[in-house]
């Protein structure tokens, strides 16, 4: 029976020849992840309520201290301690301490822990990010994670697959973020609810792995169960020297069934933003240009990997953050921070008057280091701008790509990066 990539991975996990959308299956998990907000409840449920003493396979679990760490207050320190103790007690192999890891969704791919063809779950909604590496990856809750820890398997409803085809190439300045914001604007925050988003087409062949991770990262913002890309030479090269296990890529059969196929001309996609208060509130940049800002935030699992920071630095080089505006830059991992230091990017940020922080989810979920007050306006490279996401329910958050964010920090209003930098240097764009 012809199947999509998503169906093939779930069928293999369930030990079945084939599966169809709507089937409920019990499937083996290849890799699982939790962090400082989801491990404490998962650990308690697993040990105290389910009565399991050990994890099914401690070599296939990663834990990051990223959401409220370094501890933002005493209660967060307790969550950090419970996370640390559980990881130690269970012998979890891929435990990332403060200062050594960073945001889970950057840390797992950069360490080659989530691989093509695999079934990956994470107790965090943005776990769909990993699908850029040709796997099935989805966000789950803490009780789910406790079940995976105890048994190594979990129940899934096989999703219908929506296919997104991107013809032609993205234009100058236009990034993966602009593309996915545009798509979510077209289909809505529940446009792919509980479904698989399979992204294919010419435009994706010309973007690097980090940009691809931005696209799958935001699958959840359309309500999707997972986002998945095809395996190609870019995937293979990214995994060379990183992959911690052998892997088998997966392809969709040519006659696989799709619930719907969406076709987009990538060349027609403009620079864009999501306006307050929803990720599907898309507008071309030109419509919101000139909007006054209080804060600019470059960070998160969506857009704070090294290529994002390079573009931000190229725009900021030789400029200053506008008076009355604060720019906060939070790398998404410790490895990203080390690389930024090597390349002299941090020097550029500091000279521009930006606040450079340690790697953490931080301001993205209104945790710490950049929480917004009542009525404040922020341009952010993050993923979600529902009311109160970054702080006060009456704060206004616009979502954009990092070059737009950097340029807007310089001018103090939402701006096209071309106003600050003539052309993105070759090799960075």
């Amino acid at each position: 029976m012809a199947m999509t990539m998503t169906e093939k991975i779930l069928a293999r996990g369930a030990g079945r020849e084939s599966v169809s959308p709507g089937d409920l299956v019990l499937a083996k998990v290849d890799f699982a992840m939790g962090h400082d907000l989801t491990i404490p409840p998962a650990g308690r449920i697993m040990r105290e309520q389910m009565g399991a003493e050990k994890i099914w396979d401690p070599d296939r679990v990663a834990v990051t201290q990223d959401h409220f760490q370094p501890a933002k207050d005493a209660a967060s320190a307790t969550l950090g301690r419970l996370t640390r103790e559980f990881s130690h007690d269970m012998g979890i192999k891929w435990y990332f301490e403060v200062g050594q890891g960073g945001i889970c969704h950057t840390v797992l791919p950069e360490n080659g822990l989530v691989l093509p063809g695999e079934l990956v779950v994470g107790a965090d909604s943005h776990s769909c990010t990993y699908g850029a590496l040709n796997n099935f990856a989805t966000g789950i809750g803490s009780t789910d994670l406790a079940c995976v820890f105890a048994l190594g398997e979990l129940w899934f409803r096989v999703p219908e697959t929506l296919k997104f085809v991107y013809h032609n190439r993205l234009r100058e300045w236009v990034e993966a973020k602009d593309l996915i914001l545009y798509v979510i604007g077209q289909i809505g925050v529940d446009g792919a609810r509980s479904k698989a988003m399979e992204h294919v087409g010419e435009a994706l062949k010309h973007i690097d792995m980090e940009a691809r991770l931005t696209i799958t990262n935001m699958a959840i913002e359309a309500g999707a169960k997972n986002g998945i890309l095809e395996f190609d030479e870019v995937t293979r090269q990214y995994l060379e020297g990183r992959a911690k296990r052998p892997y088998t890529p997966v392809t969709s059969d040519p006659d696989a069934t799709y619930e719907k196929v969406f076709e987009f001309d990538a060349e027609k996609v403009e620079l864009g933003v999501a306006k307050p208060m929803s990720p599907d509130n898309y507008a071309p940049l030109s419509e919101v240009a000139g909007t006054r800002l209080d804060q600019v935030f470059i960070g998160s699992c969506t857009n704070s990997r090294i290529t994002d920071l390079r573009r931000a630095a190229a725009v900021l080089d030789g400029h200053k953050v506008a008076p009355g505006v604060r720019l906060i830059i939070t790398p998404s991992s410790h490895q990203v921070a080390i690389q930024a230091e090597k390349e002299g990017l941090i020097r550029v940020f500091l000279a521009a008057g930006a606040a450079w922080t340690t790697a953490t989810c931080g301001a993205c979920l209104g945790g710490h280091m950049g929480v917004l007050g009542e009525g404040e306006v922020c341009l952010s490279t993050t993923n979600r701008n529902f009311p109160g996401r970054m702080g006060h329910p009456k704060a206004m958050v616009y979502l954009s790509n990092p070059a737009v964010a950097a340029a807007s920090a310089v001018t103090g209003v939402i701006s096209h990066p071309g106003e600050v930098l003539k052309k993105m240097p070759a090799g960075i764009a």
């Binding site: 308690r44 389910m50 959401h67 409220f68 909604s125 776990s127 105890a150 309500g223 979600r384």
Partner: protein
């Protein structure tokens, strides 16, 4: 523990795309292990609903429009709603992680576009979980709910994923003991 089969309560009505950060703002995630404390802040992030949890009478029913619980995977969203005293959630549709979290907790949630459309705040509802029917005494109306697949029904009847995993672990241990 198994859920009661018939639930009666007063309705609180919410709109579409209420995300988890509105259901329980992330700053309260520090209370991840404290259902009562989470309950005090349930729905606090929904504009105009500040102080809502204090007005809830235990047993009240929450009815929402489409895509309820979108956003984060944090299980504190359904936990906060339960902690506030809400006996049951009915929505036009749910975001998938909120849906799984509620089912896994053994917390009764129902999907009924008809109820989401027909019910207004304050309506007196009776819900027959077994039959999947919502009766609106205020309006003299009745709405069907979408049936769950049998595995999900089994989970809800057992009281959630915890007893299910306990049972499976026990089976595995017995199997290992026999070898």
């Amino acid at each position: 523990m198994t859920a009661p089969q018939v639930i009666r309560g007063r309705t609180w009505k919410f709109g579409a795309n209420i995300d988890t950060d509105q259901i329980i703002p992330a700053k309260y995630a520090i209370y991840s292990l404290d259902e009562k404390e989470l309950g005090k802040h349930a729905m606090e992030g929904v504009p105009g609903r500040e102080g809502w949890a204090a007005k809830v009478t235990p047993g009240d029913i929450l009815v929402a429009d489409s895509n309820f619980g979108c956003g984060s995977s944090r299980e504190i969203a359904p936990i906060a709603i339960r902690g506030a005293g809400i006996s049951l959630v009915i929505a036009d549709s749910y975001a998938r992680i909120f849906f799984r979290n509620a089912i896994n907790m053994g917390y009764p949630i129902l999907q009924s576009p008809q109820a989401a459309e027909g019910v207004s705040e304050g309506d007196d509802l009776e819900v027959d979980l077994e039959a999947g029917i919502v009766r609106n005494f205020t309006r003299g109306d009745e709405y069907p709910c979408e049936p769950f697949p049998s595995f999900m029904n089994e989970l809800i009847h057992m009281g959630g994923l915890v007893p299910w995993v306990r049972k499976r672990l026990q089976e595995r241990r017995q199997l290992a003991g026999r070898r």
